[in-house]
Symmetry: C2
Subunit: 277 residues, 2 copies
């Protein structure tokens, strides 16, 4: 009975803004029967340029709010928050299962290309913490890893400049030192270590050779969520259709406009509930 | 005696982050004997994509902190905060003089080019409020005004991409619809309605005709500060050198690195005092 009751609870998905909607989308495709509640901390985004102490404090407040909504599992769909705060959040919220995006992303990249040269594209904060590097080297000691901060690509994704000359030019500006010239790192694998970057996939693809694998965390994180639910007997048995709740800490209109691009469907400001943390 | 005492107090300068340092720099050049205390709300930047209610709340907290430091005058060196909150701040902090950057910027643009077609480059929030449009039309009913949100240019300035092909390409992408094609607005005057944009001056200059005037608020705001001090008898008579205090709500290292570009001098993380609002 207890499992039946809790399997009806939603999965909570947390991000600093709208980028995590790429992860939400993957979870929804993989687990269409699950109730989902997404919280974007749009009042304080971006996390990628903030200090670890601030990111940890914000993540604690946001996840406390999601817990108050009775979630059965929590996904930290933000690379920066995963890199900074996953261990602390797992401790603070235990026994609630808390899943981040860094380790699933690292696993996916290694599966696609073992013992390879990986290049992680991420925010300043994620790069500073070297979370992907640690995860990859632990899982695949043969691999090499570099991490590259690409702050402007976050704004670019939010602005919807996802294709065309200018989109490609911005991506190329960041990648050029890694792929051009003798002695360049020449990655065999790119890891999109920021949830904003999957929507720039075409632009990123166009500036690297076709042999380079490109991995993001969304699909693998969704797979981890699915297997964790199964392991805990928490899969929902649908009686009525699954619900999706979207919460934000600021700017419902902007969330709807920009978030629609990430979620891959039209959103209206009225679809977003504003919350105070 | 009272005026002598208060003339020793610092001028407070507030911004959402480091962009306002372009205004601080102009004030320091114009008034080298004044003590200055600058507060950048880096924990919650950018303001340009936040809702007016959030921007107002943040600005109230930040200015309350500056008042607690005993400032004799307050400069809102952030276009978004000036557009959203100037009236409320003036009321809340009276009789402390509070000066924004929108009206000085509008005056400077009109002085440079009366009865002209102005184009304001600004953040989403500033554009949505139409603050420059209102100020210009009130001061020069012959003028016409359009406002253009250029969010990515904020990140571009913070990233230090101030010149070169990519810098020009981003600026051109925003300006193209306004300057190319029959029926384009063809502005005669550009107003840099975000304190980040002066450091992109060369890139902006390179994509418009030499006849277009380009105005920012920094110099004019400094002139308004100077005349207000004079009118109130609050000019400092230097006994010892002027002090500059830099405060931020997060990320001293990043503030020092990025802020140095805006202030035009090297900064170290130790120069920045972190404060909680």
């Amino acid at each position: 009975m207890e499992n039946e009751a809790s399997s009806e609870q939603p999965i909570g998905v947390f991000d600093s803004g709208v980028g995590g909607l790429t992860v939400l989308k993957a979870i929804r495709e993989r687990l269409p029967d699950e109730h989902l509640v997404y919280l974007g901390d749009t009042a304080r985004l971006p996390y990628g340029t903030k200090s670890p102490a601030s990111v940890l404090r914000y993540a604690m407040q946001a996840t406390a709010h999601l817990r108050s909504r009775g979630v059965k599992m929590l996904v930290i769909a933000c690379n920066t928050a995963s890199a900074v705060a996953l261990d602390d959040l797992q401790r603070a919220l235990a026994p609630l299962p808390v899943i981040g995006v860094v380790e699933p992303g690292a696993r996916a990249a290694i599966a696609a290309r073992p013992a390879a040269r990986h290049l992680v594209l991420a925010t300043e904060a994620t790069v500073r913490l070297g979370a992907y590097g640690k995860a990859i080297r632990r899982l695949d000691p043969q691999a090499s890893v570099r991490e590259l901060a690409c702050e402007l690509m976050v704004a670019q994704a939010e602005e919807g400049w996802t294709s065309g000359d200018i989109a490609t030019a911005i991506v190329r500006e960041y990648l050029r030192p890694m792929i051009t010239g003798s002695g360049a790192y020449q990655p065999e694998s790119l890891i999109l270590g920021c949830t904003h970057f999957p929507i720039l996939g075409d632009a990123i693809r166009s500036v690297v050779s076709p042999q380079v694998s490109i991995t993001d965390s969304a699909g693998t994180t969704a797979a981890v969520v699915a297997s964790e639910l199964l392991a805990r007997g928490l899969n929902r048995t649908p009686a009525e259709p699954a619900r999706l709740q979207l919460l934000a800490t600021d700017g419902a209109t902007r969330f709807a406009r920009v978030g629609g691009t990430f979620l891959g469907e039209q959103l209206a400001a009225g679809d977003i509930e504003l919350v105070d943390l």
